[in-house]
Amino acid sequence: MKKVVDVCTRVEGHGNINILIQKDEISSVSFDLDIFRGFENILHGKKLIDAPRIASRICGLCHASQGIASCKAIENIYEIEPTTQSISLRRLLMIGELIKSHAMHFFFQSFPDLFVALKKHSNSLSFDELIRYDPLLTSNVFELIKISNEIVTLFGGRSIHLITPIIGGVQYSPSKKDISVAKKYFQKAITNLDWVIERFHDLFSKEKPPDIYNLNDPVYMGMQNNEEYDRYDGFLRLKQKDKILADFPVHKYQQFFTKQIELRGVDFHLNKDQKVIVGPLARFNIIKDFEMDEISSYLSYFDGEWKKNLIYSNLVRLVEMLLASYEGLSILENRNLIGKNQIKPIKSIKNNEGIGIVEAPRGTLIHHYTLDENNLIGKAKLIIATEINLPIINDILTRESRKLYEWTGDINQIKNQAQMIIRMFDPCISCATH
């Protein structure tokens, strides 16, 4: 047995590609994360009010989602429900976070690879080549990063590891000026995204996405709220092809999947060949259609071949940023956002455990806390999108590496291909190595 290890580049965090070769055949290729930070251990013994700001530190890209999922889990323990004003603010924070995270992934990670995958360039463009190749796209995307950062800072107190989301609500009362500033930001984001999506279309829609990235009818999992796209509140849905396998509230998640603490990976109670994928592509697949014409028309640019392919997730990320910007604008139109915000006071503990869920930029995120005898956190279970995606990532890595090895026998080509497949999934290694 021979083992070849390659370090992943242009991903968030440290990951390795492990290639196992036996008798001149690839036996497996896997995406491995060898760091373990132990946030489940860190949260153990902590006071409930202390948990969200620690949990936020799990990830510098999905910090708002981590902090808010933690708040929701604890609000579940106290049975308190934040005001609609607070919930709107949380949504705004998650929108800002999503735009920033997707924009960074698009520019630094996936866009350079699309030239190799679709246009058959021999190498992916480095970012200085990219800046020269498409300066307008570069400035549009950097503006998106900047705008989303400003929105998060405005309502969250700072750009990452936010101060304002606390148990019981959001410790911030927006002024009229904040609202008008944020509106301008979202309007600008919409202009930029329209441009970027059109550019994406011009560059790539005539190309045929290669079979390497075929997903082979995975099980999509995501949150929906009365058949509508929602990342803050709703039921989880499992869907394969056109068939809804299950709709369930998050407190029943253990009937569908389980996770053992400190053993990375999530076990789904499905057939062995049914692989689950979460993230933007899943969120868009579990919903039948979008009422907004802008969204449907952008999605209709691409044919059925695209929609089965992981490469399509790059377009979906762009469209999701647009959807989020429109959602942001509509939240800002709501009059209840202005005025003194009330934080719901913490009273007595009602439940011995609490579960909080949000859709983080990369997919479903669940925090599940159980109390100990001193009402401190006894057990913390964190279910993270990238962990859920690991089996399908490894499946595709192994499948495609075997093919390529048969044709070429070239380990370097396999490494390059594996790197690109992993980047297309947009893994968040910080989160996954929590």
């Binding site: 760091i35 510098g60 304002t164």
Partner: protein, 254 residues
């Protein structure tokens, strides 16, 4: 010749990197440097010679010690970016891993503290570094520009019972008292300023993410403890004072 820059992460959340990328000046900054190594943004596999290295994240294992030593060897200047690299950071709360600051293993040329580093400080530091100038950090504690400070208090009389207020309704920066005088723990007295008291201005006491003004965490904490009275519950509670740094104990693995 553009200066060669290296940016890398050890055990981190990538938050410092994300703060750096979202700085106003970042696009111009990229044009002025030759980014020779940065796993987040470029494909380069090898750590190469460079003028300035920014390293985020703490050290938790042997592999990272050797990466760090290699970076040190190849870099003219090496800076610890963020509180994890500067002091150990949030992973100090773990009792399963030992999170250590870079300076435990290599000589560093400076720190850019904060979780996340405040935008003004980070922007100022990297601009100075590009021009091969040295930067300075604020040398005072958070209380020195805190609006809640009022008259300088030398001794806090009220017993500290909480780590966060349980009522946010009455908070108003102009009319509220110092948290410590209200029995709520605030680490402002032993924390470096530079963050513009963002948390405090929103009604949340300081958790100390900027680290101490001088580098000795433990002596700062001991001094502070002699000034305040903590309830026994809080004395037992793990993770207030060593949230962002843990003292080295003999027998620790790394």
């Amino acid at each position: 010749m553009k200066p060669k820059l290296l940016i890398t992460s050890l055990t981190s959340c990538s938050g410092c990197l994300s703060t750096l990328i979202s700085l106003d000046i970042f696009p111009q900054f990229l044009e002025r440097v030759n980014l020779v190594y940065c796993p987040f943004m470029v494909d380069a596999h090898n750590i190469s010679n460079n003028e300035v290295a920014l390293v985020e994240g703490c050290v938790i294992n042997e592999d990272q010690i050797s990466i760090l030593k290699e970076v040190r060897k190849k870099s003219k200047k090496l800076f610890a970016l963020g509180t994890c690299a500067a002091f150990g950071g949030i992973n100090s709360l773990s009792d399963k891993i030992q999170a250590r600051a870079l300076s435990k293993y290599v000589e560093i040329d400076g720190i850019i503290p904060g979780c996340p580093p405040p935008i003004k400080i980070l922007g100022n530091c990297i601009l100075k570094l590009l021009d091969s100038k040295t930067y300075t950090l604020p040398e005072k504690n958070l209380c020195s520009n805190c609006e809640l400070r009022g008259n300088l208090v030398k001794k806090f009389t009220k017993t500290i019972t909480k780590i966060l207020p349980d009522n946010f309704k009455d908070f108003d920066i102009e009319n509220s008292k110092c948290f410590l005088e209200n029995g709520i723990l605030c680490l402002g007295p032993i924390t470096r300023q530079g963050c513009d008291c963002k948390c405090i201005n929103l009604g949340i006491p300081c958790e100390g993410c900027m680290g101490p003004v001088n580098n000795d965490y433990t002596s700062n904490v001991i001094n502070f403890l002699s000034m305040i009275n903590l309830t026994s519950d809080l004395k037992k509670y793990k993770g207030i004072f060593y949230r962002f740094s843990k003292p080295y104990v003999r027998g620790d693995k790394y």
